[in-house]
Amino acid sequence: MTLADLLPRFDGGPLLSVPSTAAGLGLLMLVLLATLLAGLWRVLRGPSAADRMLAAQLFGTTGVAILVLLALASGSGPLLDVALTLAVLAAVSVVAFVASAGPGGGRGQS
């Protein structure tokens, strides 16, 4: 299977060579995690349903970025598959939100 040879395996660690790179990647992950935690404020506070959904979408993007960094740091290609799955499914929840929020209302439009 030639395609299989092109794709990196789990045990292959060709992506990382020097420890200083690992430290740099770790720092970047920390920064991204910090932005995630700060963004939680918007989900908690709202005020509207659209704000919350927007913030959740944003988290999806940040989570994908963290996964990419993790894949680099651990040198495991299949983590990119996890990131790819998240990326492909990122739209499902927002479509479900808009569809289920129904015409003309967030929640509690009474």
């Binding site: 299989a4 794709l7 395996r9 789990f10 690992a22 430290a23 770790g26 720092l27 992950m29 920390l30 995690l33 910090a34 995630l36 935690l37 939680l40 989900v43 908690l44 709202g46 349903a49 919350r52 959904m53 913030a55 959740a56 988290f59 999806g60 989570g63 963290i66 996964l67 993790l70 495991s76 290609g77 299949p78 983590l79 598959d81 996890v82 790819l84 799955t85 998240l86 492909v88 499914l89 990122a90 739209a91 499902v92 929840s93 479509v95 479900a96 939100f97 808009v98 569809a99 289920s100 929020a101 129904g102 015409p103 003309g104 209302g105 967030g106 929640r107 509690g108 439009q109 009474s110």
Partner: protein
């Protein structure tokens, strides 16, 4: 590895805080959105713990299916008032019990962490991996070493869809809307045209990758189910009564193939699921393909949430009429 310790601690704190927020939030919609975010963070934590397969399953099922399922249910609960909390004695008693259990478990966790590393079953799996027919240990466990578990899991899915279809039969008019829920507009249409084939490809790729890397029937099936959910949401596909026969066939396919393979192997000198070495990989891939289709169909049906029956409602409940077509869409 200092940054990673801080990262782990921050992520763990976020997990606990998010769980609390999901459970304590006064707003149902907020707690569902927080729950979706929680699923994402859990997947990150599982990656950190070296479990990419589990992270993939959680990302596919949590991000795609569960979130859509919860959001769709939320729509039915709109306007329902919150119930009063449980009486205080109940809360105190349960709180005490939970605290005791948690304290005991915490002692166990701390003691285990201090103890020397256990051996685990990884060695046993690795020793027998060559005989399993696949190269990825998790797939080997799921479809060879512990195949009975997986068969039961497929049966659980089957039971779930049977129950869900049974729940909505009978008294009240069906609770799901007809047609596209809202007009999602041309952008969504174009997106669906682009995204649906891409997601089908990704699902097939995950199924194939499961033989040698994280992936497999559940993850691939969940991605395919997300395709179905998107198609239903966008109004590109609407389950109708005449689809029921196909749907039933798809629900049962995985369990049927699974059982047939077990019988076929078991009729010979071997026990069930003790595949002959030369046939192991084709048999496993056959089972996985069937199970993937079943999981995809089942999860999509669970999202749709009811049997696609006609709208003729038995005349047992007064003052309700079946919903007729309503065009008043802003």
């Amino acid at each position: 590895m200092d940054p990673m310790v801080i990262f782990d601690a921050g992520l763990a704190l976020a997990l606990v805080a998010l769980s609390w927020a999901v459970l304590a939030s006064a707003d149902r919609f907020a707690s569902v959105v927080l729950f979706i975010v929680l699923g994402l963070m859990v997947a990150l934590a599982w990656v950190r713990l070296g479990a990419p397969d589990v992270a993939l399953a959680e990302a596919a099922i949590g991000a795609g299916v569960t979130g859509a399922l919860l959001l769709a249910t939320l729509r039915h609960l709109r306007g329902q008032p919150e119930a009063p909390p449980s009486p205080a004695p109940v809360r105190w008693a349960v709180g005490g019990m939970v605290a005791a259990v948690t304290a005991a478990l915490a002692a166990v966790v701390v003691a285990l962490v201090a103890a020397p590393r256990p051996e685990g079953l990884a060695g046993a799996v690795a020793d027998n991996l060559a005989m399993s027919g696949v190269e990825h240990p998790v797939t080997a466990v799921l479809l060879n070493f512990r195949a009975h578990d997986t068969l039961m899991e497929v049966v659980v899915l089957l039971v779930a869809v049977v129950v869900v279809w049974a729940i909505d039969r009978g008294l009240a008019p069906a609770h799901a809307p007809q047609g596209p829920l809202v007009d999602l507009g041309p952008v969504q249409d174009g997106f669906a045209r682009l995204a649906l084939p891409a997601a089908v490809l990704l699902g097939a790729y995950l199924l194939w990758a499961g033989a040698h890397a994280p992936g497999g029937a559940f993850q691939g099936g969940a991605v395919l189910a997300a395709v179905g959910i998107l198609a239903i949401l966008a109004g590109r596909w609407r389950p109708e009564p005449r689809h029921r026969a196909w749907a039933r066939a798809a629900f049962g396919l995985g369990a049927t193939v699974f059982v047939l393979v077990a019988l076929g192997v078991g009729l010979g000198p071997r026990v069930a699921y003790e595949y002959p070495l030369t046939l192991a990989k084709p048999l496993i891939l056959t089972i996985e393909a069937a199970v993937t289709l079943s999981i995809a169909a089942t999860l999509a049906a669970l999202f749709f949430g009811r049997e696609p029956a006609g709208l003729t409602v038995p005349n047992t409940v007064p003052n309700t009429v079946p919903s007729t077509a309503r065009g008043g869409r802003p």
